[in-house]
Symmetry: C2
Subunit: 132 residues, 2 copies
DNA sequence: CTTGACCCTATAGGGGCTACAGCCTTTATG
DNA sequence: CATAAAGGCTGTAGCCCCTATAGGGTCAAG
């Protein structure tokens, strides 16, 4: 199995530039090159990139992905570390949802207070302005 | 009323650098300067920056804030444009909440599938990895 | 008269890509 | 076999929205 960067990017739904970016920041190892200096990937790299993409889709930061990768390489290690990262991330997601809901409530209130007319009468602007 | 950039930044809970940044990108007008080349703000600038911050807190993008500002300057104009921007933003917020909830469900499922053990047995890693 | 708090500009960095520009290599077609 | 299109390569700049320096100048208090 020999894949070009384009093959890999299609297979993982990742832009080519993103693959190179991941390599540059050390998230993916530098692959061997062909005689024409093309990156030459195999099954292992495909798996690793899929892992990265899946974790990213679940909202893990690149640093968290890096940590997950290095933990997952140690097959005999306790999986508590992995659990910790995942739960920490879950907490972040919960906080974000709560924040957005609060924001939504406030925004909705601002919008609902306005029933048209000119800008001078607009409650949205009034609600945004401090004392005016 | 004569305010330094520091006064303004305290009054609006904005970092000094951020105020200068807003000026640089044209969100705030360039204020007059003192003889010592300090920015010299008044009531109007305080109001405008408060508006910007409030809108930002509600999650409007800088472009949206810019639009809101220019609409709000036209006091005789219909406020439909303002309503449109606000509702468009509400839609974005709703989409974000929905996306995060979906993500949360998936993440939770991944986490719940694991009941400890070594990394080799860890369902979190398994759920992230593609085939293997 | 000096200390320290504040101000000034200009520039770089962050996260996580994305998008060029300006080349070289491979593959498909005439 | 020649060529053109598609894809690869490096390097760098841009996106959003600030934030954080470095290296200076100004001002009020002691």
């Amino acid at each position: 199995m020999s894949l070009t960067i384009g093959d890999l990017s299609k297979a993982t739904n990742t832009k080519v530039e993103t693959v190179r970016y991941y390599e540059r920041i050390g998230l993916l190892p530098k692959p061997p090159r062909t005689s024409g200096n093309y990156r030459n990937y195999g099954e292992a790299e495909l798996g690793r990139l899929s892992f990265v993409r899946r974790a990213r889709d679940l909202g893990f930061s690149l640093d968290q992905v890096r940590a997950l990768l290095s933990l997952s390489d140690d097959r005999d290690c306790d999986c508590a570390g992995i659990d910790r990262i995942a739960n920490e991330h879950l907490g972040e997601v919960d906080r974000k949802i709560a924040d957005l809901k609060a924001l939504r409530r406030e925004l909705k209130a601002v919008i609902d207070s306005c029933d048209g007319g000119t800008v001078a009468e607009c409650r949205i602007i009034e609600a945004l302005a401090p004392r005016g």
